[in-house]
């Protein structure tokens, strides 16, 4: 099994190397990537938005939606971590504590259910 | 000249990567991984991508390392393989 996986990975790596055969030479200024849309970014970033740092201009303006999606990814990761790791405690009066109430309660004592104040911060 | 620099950097990166995976102590592995990320940031900077280098140093080396260390507080440090 282990051997099989390693052989498979080896084949894949060779395949990936094989594919670079038709890629342009390293650093070639005439490569498609360097002639394509990138020239527009380089030549117009300052004209369009008065921003010398082209990476910032592309990041936040030309491809702003990518960045917005990326921002959402970060929030999604935070949300996912909270969702996976935390649970809200229900207090005995039926109301709910804060996000970390259960954590606080666990740290407060070994058996939080006996303490009447529950997970109050 | 520059080409030689990135050749050696990449070779070291490969060694770091192998080391990070083969060390049995996870704390050491995380340390090696952080080193790997810093070298990678260096390589990015050398290849003309300062923005990416900064990000890789801050996120890849810094925060990922912190998160991994934090996780190691809770889980077993030893690895079987």
């Amino acid at each position: 099994m282990k051997l099989f996986a390693m052989i498979l990975i080896g084949i894949l790596a060779s395949f990936v190397i094989w594919g670079t055969h038709d890629l342009p030479e390293r650093g070639d200024p005439q490569s498609p990537a360097n002639l394509g849309v990138s020239t527009y970014y380089i030549e117009n970033a300052y004209i369009d938005s008065e921003t010398p740092n082209m990476v910032t201009a592309v990041l936040a303006d030309y491809r702003g939606f990518d960045t917005f999606g990326e921002a959402v990814v970060v929030v999604a990761a935070a949300l996912s971590s909270l969702l996976i790791l935390l649970r809200r405690r229900r207090r005995e009066d039926g109301s709910e504590g804060g996000l970390f109430s259960e954590v606080d309660a666990q740290k407060a004592g070994p058996d939080p259910s006996t303490s009447p104040s529950g997970g109050a911060p | 000249m520059i080409g030689q620099l990135d050749f050696w950097l990449m070779l070291i990166l490969v060694m770091f990567a192998i080391l990070a995976l083969e060390v049995r102590d996870l704390l050491a592995a995380v340390g090696v991984l952080t080193g790997f990320s810093f070298l990678m940031a260096l390589l990015f900077a050398e290849l003309g991508a300062p923005d990416v280098a900064l990000t890789e140093a801050a996120l890849g080396a810094g925060l990922t390392g912190v998160f991994l260390l934090l996780a190691l507080v809770f889980v077993d440090r030893k690895s079987e393989d």
């Binding site: 395949f15 990936v16 094989w18 594919g19 670079t20 055969h21 038709d22 890629l23 342009p24 490569s31 498609p32 990537a33 360097n34 002639l35 394509g36 849309v37 990138s38 527009y40 970014y41 303006d61 030309y62 491809r63 702003g64 939606f65 990518d66 917005f68 999606g69 990326e70 959402v72 990814v73 929030v75 999604a76 990761a77 949300l79 996912s80 971590s81 909270l82 969702l83 996976i84 935390l86 649970r87 809200r88 405690r89 229900r90 709910e96 996000l99 259960e102 | -």
Partner: protein, 497 residues
């Protein structure tokens, strides 16, 4: 009007962010915000579908930030993406209506963070369908995936283990896709789909493009759970909460399949996936193997959700077969199966959740007597099963029918036989459950000592979504030609040339 392509994902994204913030204060507020966002997105999707029908399939192109592609990112609403977004948002609305009661039972104390996650999953999937940029697709893929990991991980005891495996394989899939994008970018100098499709015909022989295509398809194949990359899937669905399965099983894997179809039809030049590089055929063969494999393993399962998961492995194969056939009618079958399977799987997982809520059972042998206790829910269940097996006039029959026509046309007799055999296999494992459901609890030795199940349907917030899904299955089956002629024929037309 022309804002529709952007409004569908952004309304969902906005709703999820609002729902997240409101959810810190009010659980109900989080639910309503998410639901309203989904309803808005569904309404926009319907407007998109209508625009496609009125405009005779003319794609609506939308440049984010008004940067003309390939400078900026482009959204493309065409027949295929309108179709997909309508399905995704419909399932989203239904599951969001269904969710609260089931979540309160299965994930207590976490509900308010579930709603924004559910909306994020929808937003990511919708974004994947609408975007006209291969890298933007990756970003949306990961949005959907990250939110989905959390939703799946909060289930039963084993859920985190299963989800972590899913995450790792998802990361491999995503990484492959990203590497494919890199090859494509360096071979062509662009990441815009329309631009790529103009530049790629000159590069049909390029090794870099071949590697790019293989990497992207394999990456998406892992995400799609295409056989033999399906191994993460059964454990995930077995342990996940019903709501998560009901949301994710119907749409998530299909959208990856959609992405493959999009690459196949619109990005790579015609014939690239079939003549130059037999990728489509390979997908077809793996799908055929997956259909048999999934169906056979589903027979052996005792857990309802696990059985559905293996059935998903098999059913996804139909979509793969549609790709593999690479002729219009077969592709129509595959595409039609996306909506069919979304409805059927959503329905069956929702019913599983309703039964679990009422009686706490998930094992098939414990289902004895449920038919008497929840008669109408079980009618819906029977409809779902009939659709799964492919009994007319339910939706499931017609996708199989088109696939059969397609494989007859292509002369793919092995696949023809596989489709026929799989219907029989799915009949075996699904009717087993139907039989259990309708058995008399008194005369059954296995559950004699159990208390009789109390009579009564699931709460209205769960019952009506289930009913709507069951009715939709029938409606899609009977009126499938409307969908086919209005949207799908246009999508598959390029294959006819």
């Amino acid at each position: 009007m022309s804002q529709i392509p952007a409004l569908i994902p952004t309304s969902l994204l906005l709703a999820s962010l609002l729902s997240l913030l409101i959810g810190l204060k009010s659980r109900r507020g989080a639910h309503w915000t998410a639901l309203l966002g989904a309803i808005a997105a569904f309404a926009f999707s319907l407007m998109g579908v209508k625009a496609m029908i009125d405009g005779d399939g003319e794609a609506i192109r939308y440049a984010a930030g008004n940067w003309i592609p390939p400078i900026g990112i482009e959204f493309v609403l065409d027949s295929l993406s309108a179709y997909m977004t309508a399905i995704i948002t419909f399932i989203g609305v239904i599951v969001l209506i269904y969710a609260p009661r089931s979540l309160a039972l299965e994930t207590p104390g976490r509900e308010r963070m579930v709603y924004p996650s559910m909306t994020l999953v929808l937003a990511g999937l919708v974004g994947m369908c609408l975007t006209g940029d291969v890298f933007n697709l990756y970003v949306f893929l990961e949005i959907a995936a990250l939110a989905a990991y959390a939703l799946l991980a909060i289930g039963d005891r084993g859920a985190p283990v299963a989800t972590l495996r899913y995450l790792l394989f998802g990361a491999i899939g995503g990484g492959f896709y990203l590497l494919g994008v890199a090859y494509l970018y360096y071979a062509t100098g662009t990441v815009n789909m329309a631009d790529l499709s103009m530049r790629l015909p000159e590069l049909m022989e390029s090794q870099a493009v071949i590697v790019a295509a293989v990497l992207m398809v394999v990456g998406l194949g892992i995400k799609m759970a295409l056989f033999p990359f399906h191994f993460w899937l059964p454990d995930v669905y077995t342990n996940a909460p019903s709501v998560s399965s009901a949301l994710i099983a119907p749409v998530m894997t299909k959208v990856s399949a959609y992405a493959i179809i999009r690459l196949f039809l619109d990005v790579f030049p015609p014939g690239f996936f079939t003549a130059n590089l037999p990728l489509a055929q390979t997908i077809g063969w793996f799908s055929a193997a997956g259909i048999i494999f999934g169906s056979v393993l589903a027979i052996a399962q005792h857990d309802y959700r696990r059985m559905l998961a293996y059935s998903s492995v098999g059913q996804l194969g139909y979509i793969g077969l549609g790709i593999g056939l690479a002729n219009p009618i077969g592709m129509i079958g595959g595409l039609l199966h996306i909506v069919n399977h979304a409805l059927m799987k959503g329905l069956l997982f929702m019913i599983g959740g309703a039964v679990r809520l009422r009686f706490g059972v998930t094992k098939i042998p414990d289902f004895v007597g449920v038919g008497r206790a929840m008669p109408w829910t079980m009618v819906a269940f029977t409809v779902g099963v009939l659709a799964m097996v492919g009994i007319p006039p339910t939706a499931g029959f017609f996708s199989k029918w088109y696939l059969l026509l397609g494989s007859a046309e292509a002369g793919a007799w092995v696949w023809f036989a596989v489709i026929i055999a799989s219907s029989l296999l799915s009949a075996i494992y699904f009717f087993r459950v139907v039989e259990m459901v309708y058995r008399d609890p008194e005369s059954d030795s296995a559950v004699e000592d159990r208390e009789p199940l109390p009579r009564g349907e699931a709460p209205a917030s769960m019952f009506w979504p289930i009913t709507i899904m069951a009715v939709s299955i029938m409606a899609v089956g009977i009126f499938n030609v409307l969908i086919v002629s209005a949207l799908l024929e246009r999508v598959a037309a390029p294959l006819g040339g």
